[in-house]
Subunit: 115 residues, 4 copies
């Protein structure tokens, strides 16, 4: 599982690139690409709103396992659709992780975090 988790964003990047040559009638991601940037941005925003609503629900019942899983599910949707956006722009999640590593990595806090 550990390896799977470590590499899942990279694996999704590969899948999202494969989808570029698939049929918009049979692939959800291919249909997003075909509908264009604004459609993808609307999906990203929608998942953001769903994340906001799931967090509000969790605030109401902080110990609800269902609500916790719902928030995780919506954040997964949000991250996935930002990966679709990146792929649509011929970019990848790895560039985002590198930007985060630049901010938090090595000489900074991540080193401390690794202790």
């Amino acid at each position: 599982m550990e390896n799977d988790t470590n590499n899942i964003l990279k694996a999704i990047d590969v899948i999202l690139n494969d989808r570029k040559s698939e049929d918009a009638d049979t692939s959800y991601v291919a249909s997003l690409y075909q509908q264009g940037t604004e459609k993808i941005l609307k999906k990203v925003s929608e998942e953001c709103t769903e994340t906001v609503m799931a967090s509000k629900d969790l605030c109401k019942e902080p110990n609800s396992k269902t609500n916790q899983e719902h928030l995780i599910y919506e954040v997964a949707d949000l991250w996935f659709h930002t990966q679709v956006l990146l792929a649509h722009h011929n970019l990848s999640s790895q560039a985002v992780l590198q930007e985060l590593a630049r901010r938090f990595g090595q000489s900074g806090h991540a080193e401390k975090a690794n202790r």
Copy 2:
């Protein structure tokens, strides 16, 4: 770098947990926690809007390196603030990655992606 990238989300989770015991006057993340869920959700939404705007700018000039880096920067901000939200709810990025692995992993598309 590879390892750094693989582990950066996990490293950020650790940092975000450390911030819970820090002073809101000196730590940005601690000040977000202190201001509460709605403040964090407003930041997540703001980063989403900045992602939308950066994508629109990139559409205008698809080969602009500056615009590409700007989109990556904003997605990094968005992911980071969703991690703050998860930490605030005592959840972690690893649960999100596991959810993504459940959807795309092993028996599914990720396996194909690993070929």
Copy 3:
């Protein structure tokens, strides 16, 4: 036209209340009510994102009549769907206008504006 414009928000409130007793299969607004608050909030957010994108397009070509009309169209969609939200909560646009009048009216800037 003047009177129409003055009263259009109130007229829409009336229409939106009428829709509460209509069939979700034939009325768009009735179907939104039936799908519930989260569906309506997702529509409000979607129209907000479309407003953001239309404004970015207008920035690119500030004299484009098409882009100006597109922004107006999206703001109209946004205001309309907030009215659906208000109606869903048994509130009305008139309460919003009263709040705005409270802020800007009479003793304040609106008086000056009426000069």
Copy 4:
């Protein structure tokens, strides 16, 4: 009050135009104009998110007068900041109301609404 309410959006348009010649150091709206389109769009989006959160709170306690007033307050903020956006683009709320009147007015539902 009736007249005030009818004309408040128009009065705000006038105020927002006046602000264009004011000092960004002393006028909130002038400072938004000076910070530019993206700052205004971030405010519009923020007010949208606050509307979403206020609606979720109202769902929790549908009879809470405080929560009702809070939603109305946030929708007023949202409408106001879309008016700032329109003014920034040299457009006005009247164009939005005319678009709504075009959709719902006269021959359509508004006539029915006026009965």
